[in-house]
Symmetry: C2
Subunit: 246 residues, 2 copies
DNA sequence: GCAAAAGTGTTGGGATTACACCCATGG
DNA sequence: CCATGGGTGTAATCCCAACACTTTTGC
């Protein structure tokens, strides 16, 4: 039996979210193709992290592998959210050129299963691996390959739905964080603003958000109390219909 | 270019939910394979409604087609919720036998994209099309083909998540329904019970649940007021972060 | 008249909203 | 001493959970 053949029909794409305390960002890979003769750029845009699936590999494994290959990170929060199988999804002209340039057959139907993942933005070394990576604000338009634009927008929707009832925002924050950082994160994800006092009142009811005996350092203002998320306390106290809506 | 070839690698499966005012049910297809010599049943269990995807067909179209072929119904509520691509998902012995018996190669990897759909149970004529269909209570164990058991349990989870914030329960009810029927539906979906008065108080805040000038007929007790769901009112009055949790 | 489900109100506690000022630090 | 973000309280309203009895119909 053959091993480790990349299946021509199945792929996975990862919408990698990160938070720099300012904006919710998406990790994109630069894609360029230059005309061999003129040197002019034929294709210059961005793609999601993605790849075909090995024949003996589960989809979840493939997504984790793609992420590992790109960032060197393991045990990342990954959530499958949608599969895109439109028969025309690879038929834009620049996509055809690009597929041909890397030796793939654009006639070949590829169905991609999309995941979103949440990582601590600073854990990624942007320079690594020869591939040009960029963190791009999720709400700022950018030229994208294939159907990756719609994939990102569905990923954001899926993240919003999930984070309302599950404490997954902490995957985007350092272990120790301030309440203002947490608030800003939720504001960025939902594109809204919250009242500081009301937000904190809500937080104070969540026993799994535990204050540390530690304060922010080196800031030019009153240093903030640091908090951490206790998964233990969360698991023990969560109700059946737990609502994390902020 | 070839047209309408069933792709050997992609399939869709539909978890069809129905409600008979007693239980939440799933529509299953009987699967039998008898030994040609002895006549003894080699395989006797149930499968989801599913099929391979045509080469020129989107996944959503394939799911709608599968549903149409089985029930004759169109414009059904359909929601993609997960894609199952475990390389071992077709390797149980009875599944191999069955695949071979219908001329499919069990070595062939099939990734299936799963949908759940909500239909008015009485709209389906169980007898049609020569295929044996059964409505089976979603929480009662039954012997299922492939990985269909896990597909159903994820479908139920996805339905629960969706119905908390979207008024989709009405897809499972007749146009005119009573509040007790609505309550029972939510109780069955979530496996809980609600207080009648509190449930009704919540309902009375929902302007899109409109009482009709009509009552139940032919029941051996006080006949109930009939209600309908107004999509118009819902669309006009829904808030951004609308919460339909019951 | 009886069985069966429909329909209805109150109370206490907790959550949500709206809103404005003083505090600690680094530069 | 000033700029910056950290941190806090109250009142009004709304929502939630808990709880039991009367009404209308068919038989």
């Amino acid at each position: 039996m053959q091993q480790h053949i990349l299946s021509p029909n199945f792929s996975v794409d990862c919408v990698v979210f990160g938070f720099d305390f300012e904006n919710l960002k998406v990790l994109l890979v630069e894609r360029t193709l230059d005309d061999k003769e003129t040197g002019k750029a034929l294709v210059k845009d961005h793609t999601l992290a993605g790849n075909h699936v090995f024949n003996d590999e589960d989809l979840d494994e493939a997504a984790a592998r793609v992420l590992y290959d790109l960032t060197g990170l393991e045990n990342i929060y990954l959530e499958q959210f949608h599969t895109f199988g439109n028969p025309d999804r690879l038929t834009k002209e620049k996509d055809i050129m690009w597929l041909e340039s890397i030796g793939l057959n654009p006639e070949n139907r590829v169905v991609t299963t999309a995941y979103y993942s949440l990582i601590r933005l600073n854990d990624v070394k942007i320079e690594e691996k020869g591939r040009r990576l960029v963190w791009h604000p999720v709400d700022k338009p950018i030229d994208l390959a294939f159907d990756h634009k719609i994939i990102i927008s569905l990923a954001l929707e899926a993240l919003r739905t999930k984070i309302r009832t599950n404490p997954i925002g902490f995957e985007l924050l350092p272990t120790k964080f301030t309440l203002s950082q947490l608030q800003k994160l939720y504001e960025e994800i939902f594109g809204v603003t919250y009242d500081k006092r009301n937000f904190r009142k809500k937080i104070s009811r969540m026993d799994y958000l535990v204050p540390l005996n530690e304060k922010q350092k080196g800031v030019a203002h009153k240093p903030a109390q640091l908090f951490m998320f206790s998964k233990d306390v969360y698991e023990k106290t969560k109700k059946d219909f737990f609502d994390f809506t902020v």
